[in-house]
Structures are given as structure tokens and as C-alpha cells.
Amino acid sequence: MSYKVKMESFEGPFDLLVYLISNAEMNIYDIEVSLILDQYLDYMTGLEELDVAVATEFMVLAATLIEIKAKMLIPGNLESDFEGDFEDPRKELVQKIMEYKRFKSASFLVAQRFSDNDSIYEKPQEDISVYLDNPEEFLKMDTTSFINAFNSFLLKKQRIEEMKREYQRIERDRHTVEERILYINSIFDFAKVDKLPFMKLLASKNRYDTAVTFVSILEMVRDHRADALQDEPFGEITVKKLSGEEREERIRRERINRGENHDKGQH
């Protein structure tokens, strides 16, 4: 060793390795691993004074060096005229050393710039406490929130209008139950018969019309204006229009039935 260097002054195993390589004036791409390993292990004798965590880090690299040395002892591994996929066992280590060296250089630049700018002084902020209790009101508004707010209003308005249309349509439809009864009566009048299949009473064959017609007939049955006859489940429905006399007879009979029920209830 040309001169003594304390272990503590090395920042880490790479730092030591870089030092040893350059001190031995070795080409970093052609490290004499066995020589460097000996020197490295030499320095590691000073590790007893270091804390265990740091010592471990140094030992990891020592192990790597030993491994590389072993690999290099395998004959043929270092023959440069050997053709084929020859992988230098030192390659990865060299890459790591080079990377470490780059940042080591950068650290000197940081040190230099830090000391250069050490002579620049800034002053603290002036006392602005008088202003702080007295916040200024400020209207928060930007195009985006403006447009968003307005679009959501439009959407809401659209929904309301749809709802309103729906509401009006239902109202209109309810109205047409009575209209439909008039229409059904007119069909019976026109056909001059008192029985017609349900299908004949439809104005059109959409579901809505079918429903309205059906509801209208139920209404007529309830009102003793018609009878609905169905021979089998899901079979055709025949609608029989009741005459004025028939209707009065039904109403009279219903009253009697209700009266009897009423009397029964009394006793």
C-alpha cells in the first residue's frame, strides 16, 4: 500500500473499490480481480471498528469479488480469441462501478455549486399579518364550472319536459277510455249485431290500443252495458252488447242482491 487510508473515509464498498482500482492504476475494463480482492480483504480487517450494518455491505461486495475470481479461474473463460458467446464475469461489476463513478462525479459538481451559491442571501418575508385577518372576497368562477352548471340545468330541464309530456299523454289517454266506449258502441250500431269478437273492436293493433279497448270493455261490463264471454283460457273473447232493457234488468237484479246481502248483514 502506498499510503494509509482509513476505512471510515470510504462512503461504501464501491467507493473503496474505485479507490483500489485507480490506486493500482488498473484499466477499469480489465480489472485484475485477484489483486484487487487481496487488497480489498486487507482493508476489510479494519472493519471491526465499523458498525455491523456497514460491515455487511462491504462483505457483500467481497463475496462478489470472490465469485468473480472463481469464475475467472475456469480455463478458457478469458481467451479473447475464443469465438462465441463469451461473457466476462467482471462485466456486471464494471457496469456498477461505472454508474457509481458517474454519480460520484456529479456529487462533486453539487458540492461546488452549493458552495458557489452559499454566498447568496435571501431575506425573510415582510410582516404581512395585518392583511391576514381580513380576507378579500373573491368570486370563484371559470368557464368550465359555468358551462357544467348550465349543462346540468339543461339536462334537468330536459328531464322535466319529458316527464311533463308523459304526464300530459296519460291524461289524454284516460280521456280516451270514454271516447273508446263511444267508438265501441258505434261499431255495434254500425254492424247491427249484438255480439262481436274482441279483435273486431280494435281501432288499431298496437299494444296501447289493445289495452285501451280492453279497459273500455271492462268498464262497459262493470257498467252493465256489455258482457264479455271467453270459452277457454286465452281463447277468443266475444263481446256482447246489452240492450237498454237487459241493462235495466241487470241493475235491478244487482240491487236486489245487494239488498239481500244487506239484510243478512243485519241479522
Partner: protein, 203 residues
């Protein structure tokens, strides 16, 4: 030291010192004659005034200190005063949007579009100078027309009302429909209650 370099040193020292810096102390630091330093301070003070800079030098008993120029008070106020940001309510934004896009527009038209009375909201917007009266129509009762203000443009960061972003189908969307306002029962269903300009949102 030349007068020029004395002045430079004085600038740096006054800047760091903050409190009035005595010409004697300054002279001692620079190892210069105190009368010369005093002269330099006076000259420096005058230079700042002549160039009417944003920062000036104030003398108090032969001690000197950097201060801001009087004219700059309003900027300092604005810089240092924390801002409480208020947000417009949804109702206010709606009315503002209708006015912005359909201006000039009457209150009646606005009410009709929104399906609810907008009187209180509009009062708020007028008070904040975001909208203004912009003449009257020739219709029955000659109702007042409303439009947006410069304050509105400023708040929106717009150079002119023409820069207002386009809303697709704005005409179709905010057409004035007759029936809407007629049925008060429906209104509660349809629209939230009116809010004053809220300041819920502090930032």
C-alpha cells in the same frame, strides 16, 4: 472602494438588514469614511426616486431602509390579502347562463325558461355587478332587458362575450316553452328551491 461599489454594498446590506441601517454601521462594515457612506446613501435614495422604482429608500435619523413605493400599496394589499373565494349557487349560474346566452333578455323570459321565479337570484347578480339592465323592450309594460357586464367577462376570463364557449343546441335547449310555468304544483317537483349566492365554498 469606488462610490459605485459602496452603493452596491449598501443595497445588499439594507436588503438583508430590514430595519433602518445606520450609515455609521455600514461605514464600519465597509471600512469606509462615514460621511462618504452617508453621501452614497443619499445619492442612492435619490436614484431610486428618480427612476421611480417599485422599491424606495427611506431615511430615518441618518439610518436607511428599503420600503415599497406608496403607489404600490394596492398591489401589496392584493398580494398579501388572502382571498376567500365565493361560489355562485346553481340557481345563480343558471340565470347567469341564460342571460349570457340570450341577452338582452327580460325577467319574464328567464322565469319561463327556468320554470321558476328568479327575482332574488337576479338581485344578487345585479348586486355583484355580474348582470346589468340593458334597456327595455317595446312589449306590454315595457319590461326591462338584462345583459352581462364587464365584471362577468373578467370573472370568466373572456375578452368579449363572443368568446363564450358554444353550447350545443343552445337555442333548442333554452327555448321558451309556454306550459312550463303554468302549473305551480309541478314546479316543486321540477326545480330545487332557490338559493341565495352561497359562500359555502371557501378555498
Amino acid at each position: 472602494m469606488t462610490k459605485d461599489s459602496i452603493k452596491k454594498a449598501l443595497e445588499a446590506m439594507m436588503f438583508i438588514w430590514g430595519e433602518p441601517l445606520s450609515h455609521k454601521v455600514a461605514a464600519e462594515v465597509m471600512n469606509q469614511d462615514k460621511d462618504l457612506v452617508y453621501e452614497c446613501l443619499l445619492e442612492l435614495k435619490e436614484e431610486y426616486e428618480k427612476e421611480s422604482r417599485g422599491i424606495r429608500i427611506r431615511e430615518i435619523n441618518k439610518a436607511f431602509q428599503f420600503v415599497t413605493s406608496k403607489d404600490m400599496a394596492s398591489y401589496i394589499d392584493r398580494l398579501c390579502t388572502p382571498v376567500k373565494r365565493r361560489k355562485l349557487s346553481q340557481a345563480a349560474l343558471e340565470v347567469l347562463a341564460i342571460i349570457a346566452y340570450k341577452q338582452p333578455v327580460t325577467k319574464g323570459e328567464i322565469d319561463s325558461i327556468r320554470g321558476i321565479k328568479s327575482d332574488r337570484v337576479m338581485e344578487g347578480l345585479l348586486a355583484r355587478e355580474l348582470i346589468k339592465e340593458a334597456g327595455r323592450t317595446n312589449g306590454i309594460g315595457r319590461p326591462i332587458l338584462y345583459g352581462t357586464t364587464e365584471e362577468f367577462l373578467k370573472n370568466m376570463g373572456l375578452g368579449s362575450i363572443k368568446e363564450l364557449p358554444e353550447i350545443d343546441d343552445i337555442e333548442n335547449s333554452i327555448h321558451i316553452e309556454e306550459g312550463i310555468i303554468r302549473d305551480p304544483g309541478q314546479m316543486e317537483l321540477s326545480l330545487e328551491t332557490e338559493e341565495e349566492i352561497s359562500d359555502k365554498d371557501h378555498e
